[in-house]
């Protein structure tokens, strides 16, 4: 069995952590950075870049670079029409179907893009374990976090992403709950905790009761389309508007440069009273752009966004049957809680200062690692009891929702409903499952359509079919059915409304293996070419020296020069092709035949360097 990790798969950044012998560890890259930007870029040759490198490519190859893909997980094309306009990549797909992300000539489902991020985290963790001298360093299982307010389709999409990345997803857990688990690690006390989690793209509020190591969520609420991204967009739009006519039809790369400047200004404003939005010069913006913004102006700009978090907080408190002053601790999670206005409004609402002694970026990954450790160790000191954020219902006559499992029910949760037939000899019944709080099916989120088949032919109304809905500890629904008169288990065909079928995931998995091999090959080929080009470059430089003829005449016979020229031409030809082995081979050949040349050059350089100096100076 391989290693197990906890993963915070964020809108903006992702992290990976595990529980070692001395407690939880957040895994960092070679430069000490724990955050992996959730950005994926695919170049024209099909090579995939993830993280910082992909983030850099946002400024040079925007249309092939995808960020904030979490906002599209488990969503339909119709949901996201409004927000696609400032994004450099294509957001499309069939009407009524799932979102497809277009990168160059290729199309990806959002879980496929997320899988690239997960694979990079898996690779990072494996490298870490290898460096630790672990014999068995493969990472094959993970707990992955999602916003508490994610619906069934969004959770399933996240689980699909894990599968596509070659990870067995042990559990999907909610981000605020994970945070509370990490936060509660060294707290022996009990009480009521509110976790306010404002991340890059999503907002969650969870109210928990902690007692005897049991972390019981009382209520949760949120908005899966509200976060730091929206602040960035407001600032970006501000700059584009102020550019006037110059702001029309800017290339995507320039929009990204503005966005980068806006993000920097936002970060600066967390500690300073004013900051500059500094956009560098570029062909489409020859003078660049500088705009000073004060904290007060910034606060006024983002106030409506922050206010949108308050109604869910009040609703969660009401559902938990609590008043704001009943809450003992307020914990802030997510990078966007560094915004001073957010802290102030949260403090005003609860009438107490929120905790800020936890790292809001890392606490979720640590919680995921702790949960992963609980699952594999079977230790029972701590237990998370989470809830389902949205009511589960079925469509009844007249398009009205009949609720079967109410929101804020502790999971796992189950419900059942009796069905019958309306026509003599009917052998199948269609069921439409939705999630949401509204009365009408049209106002709720369609989850799936089920067809119950294999009902024994009977007069209309006689069959008694019991359909069981089971929400598991991941918050994901499964359905089973049985005809009670005959005790016959029914077959159920599931058509997810905004998700991938199992067959589609399987196919993607096969494609991604092929793709992964191609990726690896592409990377190796690029490396080989780079190495070859540097040798070609150095050799060419020597041959073109103005004093070469003089040097060669004395030390390098023409036959040797001819050999070098031939090897050089042969390598150049190989670089033009894509045979990696051939490139390697000819690089070595050129290296061999230029050894003597290199020595001569080296000696000459030395002699030049020493000329005019006495031996004592050396």
């Amino acid at each position: 069995m391989g290693k197990v990790v906890g993963i915070d798969l964020g809108t903006t950044n992702s992290l990976v952590a595990y529980v070692g012998e001395r407690g939880p560890v957040v895994i960092r890259d070679a430069s000490g950075d724990a955050l992996l930007p959730s950005v994926v870029s695919v170049d024209a040759g099909g090579t995939v870049f993830v993280g910082r490198e992909a983030q850099r490519r946002l400024l040079t190859d925007s249309s092939r670079t995808v960020y904030s893909v979490k906002r599209f997980m488990g969503r339909g094309v119709d949901d996201v029409r409004d927000e696609a306009h400032l994004l450099p990549f294509r957001v499309g797909g069939e009407a009524g179907g799932v979102v497809r992300i277009g990168v160059g000539g290729q199309e990806f489902a959002p879980p496929e893009i997320s899988a690239f991020v997960l694979r990079e985290l898996k690779r990072r963790a494996e490298e870490h374990f290898r460096e630790q001298g672990e014999f068995d360093f493969e990472v094959d299982r993970a707990v992955i976090t999602v916003p508490a307010y994610f619906n069934d389709a969004q959770r399933t999409a996240t689980r699909d992403a894990g599968r596509l990345a070659g990870l067995e997803v042990l559990r999907i857990i909610n981000e605020p709950t994970a945070a509370s688990l990490a936060y509660g690690l060294d707290q022996k006390n009990r009480g009521t905790i509110a976790v306010y989690d404002l991340g890059g793209g999503t907002f969650d509020i969870s109210i928990l009761k902690v007692e005897d190591g049991v972390f019981q969520v009382l209520a949760t609420n949120g908005d899966t389309h509200l976060g730091g991204d929206d602040i960035d967009r407001l600032l970006t739009e501000l700059v584009i508007t102020e550019l006037g006519t110059a702001g029309h039809g800017l290339p995507a790369e320039t929009v990204q440069a503005i966005r980068k400047a806006a993000i920097q200004a936002k970060i600066d404003l967390s500690t300073a009273d004013e900051a500059d939005i500094l956009v560098d010069r570029s062909p489409s913006l020859p003078d660049g752009f500088t705009r000073r913004i004060t904290r007060a102006e910034f606060d006024a700009l983002i106030r409506p966004l922050v206010d949108r978090t308050l109604a869910p907080v009040r609703q969660a408190l009401e559902d938990a049957g609590l008043e704001p002053h009943d809450v003992d601790e307020v914990v802030l999670v997510g990078g966007s809680t560094r915004v001073p206005l957010v802290r102030r409004l949260v403090e005003e609402l609860f009438g107490r200062a929120p905790h800020s002694d936890v790292n809001p970026d890392e606490v979720v990954a640590v919680g995921a690692a702790v949960q992963a450790d609980i699952l594999i160790s079977g230790r029972r000191e701590m237990l998370l009891l989470d809830v389902t954020p949205l009511s589960l219902g079925i469509e009844t006559i007249g398009g009205v929702t009949s609720k079967i499992i109410l929101r804020n029910s502790t999971i796992p949760a189950s419900g059942r409903e009796m069905y019958s037939t309306s026509v003599d000899g009917q052998t199948a019944v269609d069921i439409h499952v939705v999630q949401g709080e509204r009365e009408l099916v049209a106002d709720c989120r369609s989850l799936a359509r089920f067809r119950l088949r294999g009902i024994p032919p009977m007069p209309a109304g006689l069959p008694r079919i019991e359909v069981r809905f089971q929400i598991d500890a991941n918050g994901i629904l499964s359905v089973s059915a049985k005809e009670l008169r005959t005790d016959v288990e029914q077959t159920i065909d599931v058509k997810p409304s905004y998700g991938l079928t199992d067959a589609e995931v399987e196919q993607m998995l096969i494609d991604s293996f092929e793709h992964a091999e191609a990726d690896f090959e592409a990377r190796l080929l690029i490396e080989a070419r780079n190495e070859a080009e540097s040798v070609v470059h150095a050799t060419g430089k020597s041959l073109r020296r103005p004093d070469f003829a003089q040097l060669a005449g004395r030390e390098i016979p023409p036959s040797e020069v001819a050999v070098i020229e031939r090897a050089l031409a042969a390598l150049k030809e190989a670089i033009g092709g894509s045979d990696r082995e051939l490139i390697h081979h000819r690089t070595h050949e050129l290296n061999d035949v230029t050894k003597h040349l290199a020595e001569v050059m080296m000696n000459k350089s030395l002699r030049e360097a020493l000329a005019g100096r006495s031996v004592d100076d050396v």
Binding site: E211, Q216, L375, G378, L383, P412, A473
Partner: protein
């Protein structure tokens, strides 16, 4: 609205799947091999939680039992178990969560008691049924007042005056609700005292509870109607 309690159909004889020992229906684990048992036919939340069938319930004791049993059943702790144990853990956890939710609130607790004592409210009794005789007078007055308020609103009356009239219409209904909740508390205490009495006394106590609960649900629905009316005023 509380769903009817789950009476899960027995799919296996009441014996341990692991060691075939016979297991009493209220045991969660096999007395012989201590494996978690699949959830057979069960409908009694009180017995499931190991509590007496009483309506006065120590809320902290309920919480404690819920936490203890969660620690014993939760799927987290069956990750490496056999498929049948994992299924049993999922079923028992789901059932425990239902049981806890139903017993936590006094009203749903009474509803559950009635259903296991053979006097279920049924889905058509959730407050939409015909007007309980004891409420006829109030309901008649309320409907008349609501009609007048609607007419006044449509002819453009001052919203603040209408809001005042709505609030006034609310008051007697709220008083009725408070009265019923006191009566329910009294009837609950009566049930707890009669629990060991004869069948006739028990039946009478249950009938009282049922009647009060039906009326109370009806009143809650009336209040929701007033709420919707108030919302229509913006």
């Amino acid at each position: 609205m509380t769903p009817e309690p789950l009476t899960v159909r027995s799919i296996t004889p009441p014996e341990c799947r692991n060691c075939s020992a016979s297991v009493p229906v209220d045991e969660h684990f096999c007395p012989q091999c201590s494996r978690i048992q699949s959830l057979g036919r069960h409908g009694d939340y009180f017995a499931f939680l190991g509590l007496p069938r009483r309506l006065e319930l120590d809320s902290q004791e309920l919480d404690r039992r819920f936490r203890d049993l969660s620690r014993q059943f939760h799927p987290d702790f069956y990750y490496n178990a056999t498929p049948s144990e994992r299924l049993a853990s999922l079923e028992r956890s789901s059932y425990l969560n239902d049981a806890y939710r139903a017993l936590k609130q006094p009203v749903s607790r009474i509803e559950h008691l009635l259903s296991i004592e053979g006097l279920p409210l049924g889905t058509s009794d959730q407050g939409n049924a015909k007007v309980p005789p004891s409420l006829l007078e109030e309901v008649f007055a309320l409907n008349e007042e609501l009609d007048e308020i609607r007419d006044a609103r449509e002819s453009g009356a001052d919203p603040s005056v209408l809001a005042e009239r709505l609030a006034a219409a609310r008051r007697p209904i709220e008083a009725k609700r408070d009265e019923h909740e006191r009566a329910l508390a009294e009837a609950s205490a009566q049930w707890d005292r009669e629990a060991s009495a004869g069948a006739a006394e028990r039946r009478a106590a249950l009938e009282t509870l049922r009647q009060l609960l039906l009326e109370r649900n009806y009143i809650v629905n009336l209040l929701a109607t007033i709420e919707r009316e108030a919302a229509a005023h913006g």
